[in-house]
Symmetry: C2
Amino acid sequence: MSSAASSGGSGGPGGPGGARKRADKRQAILEAAFTVFARRGYAQACVQEIAQEARVAKPTVYSHLNDKETLFRHALEAAADALAAENLAAVERLRDLAPDADLRAALTGTADRLLRICGSERGRALKWLTYAQVGTFPDLVDAVLERTGRRLGTALADRLARLSLAGRLRPCAPEQAAEHFLALLTAPYEARSALGTRPLPATALHGLAEAAVDTFLLAYAA
Amino acid sequence: MSSAASSGGSGGPGGPGGARKRADKRQAILEAAFTVFARRGYAQACVQEIAQEARVAKPTVYSHLNDKETLFRHALEAAADALAAENLAAVERLRDLAPDADLRAALTGTADRLLRICGSERGRALKWLTYAQVGTFPDLVDAVLERTGRRLGTALADRLARLSLAGRLRPCAPEQAAEHFLALLTAPYEARSALGTRPLPATALHGLAEAAVDTFLLAYAA
DNA sequence: AGCAAGATGAACCCATGGGTTCAATAGCTA
DNA sequence: TAGCTATTGAACCCATGGGTTCATCTTGCT
């Protein structure tokens, strides 16, 4: 199940099998890199271990990604893309809300999902790794934040603008409302979970989501 | 030339001068350690550079602190203590607020100070270093968070409880109010400043403080 | 003056790990 | 079958840096 049997039908017509397998390896290497970086941190992670994790030889790693730093950047950006997709999906649930639907319940549902993503294995690892290298690769912080932070903020602002226009929220600056919604949600989570080091039970997460929505609605409800 | 003239009045009566100088060196080492760790990160910082920064020989460093990890822990805890003192001072300004004083102005003043501390050289460095080692030294995260996070939260909760009792805020759970106040303040700062990598002008900081207080008062004013 | 405790710098030992080289091999294409 | 390309494993080079040792000062105390 490692890599040989992965591409399904062997030598499917229409595409060069060699290139396909090569792309698969690159993918495996990036995933393995993220796993190992998450486990050890940037400096402590050795390329050898990444190669093992990807079931690949060390020179193969260097043939795909030039050096450790490139490996790190690509691995983190890929992880950020995956997280961003999950975040956006959670926010999109606020689209097409029926006029008589329960706004509080909808917001709480979205909040709950965002919190779960934030506390997921990948979410925590990405945050740690990004913060950790903020001094050495400041531009990487920007790339990751663009994907996970800014995109999420504007998508949520879009939804809140519609809700405001529909009279379900008071007139407000949607960017700021989104910023405050996310703040009320994530900052208490960071504090309670000790930056993600201490796992919170699902009930605690739900409590945080409800508290955030409560306060948000006190400030922003119509 | 370096250390001989450091202790000010030479041989002040009442204390053993030797021990005093030794304590001074320890202090210098810890400060230098924080400076260098902040500059390079934990793994990239070498003890040699810390020794140079402290104007001390490498074996002297090891004679005071057993190894690099101990050095790191003590340096960070000292920095956290210093930050905690500043934070508490900012919150204490809410004590003894005159019954007819401008609550919004008082909260904004405190918010402004907290934001400045959070964005200070020391504040940013401490946050980066703590986050960076969250995987390797999880208990250190706890020690730092206890000093900067928890203490600040309860101190602010104390003040808000009094304000609530005095009828200036609506009845509420003070811990949660404090949590939300700090969330509205710091999370937007983190987002806007890209985790502290991009400096915000004082006017932007003030704007964040005012926005946070606005929303907070919408939800928590009497 | 003479002693004890630090402090010093330089050299040293050694583990880790990034990055490369190379000969051997597996797998696909023609 | 011939040939090309990607892969492999193992050994290798070399820089970095944690931690120690030691002989030599410096300094304060008596």
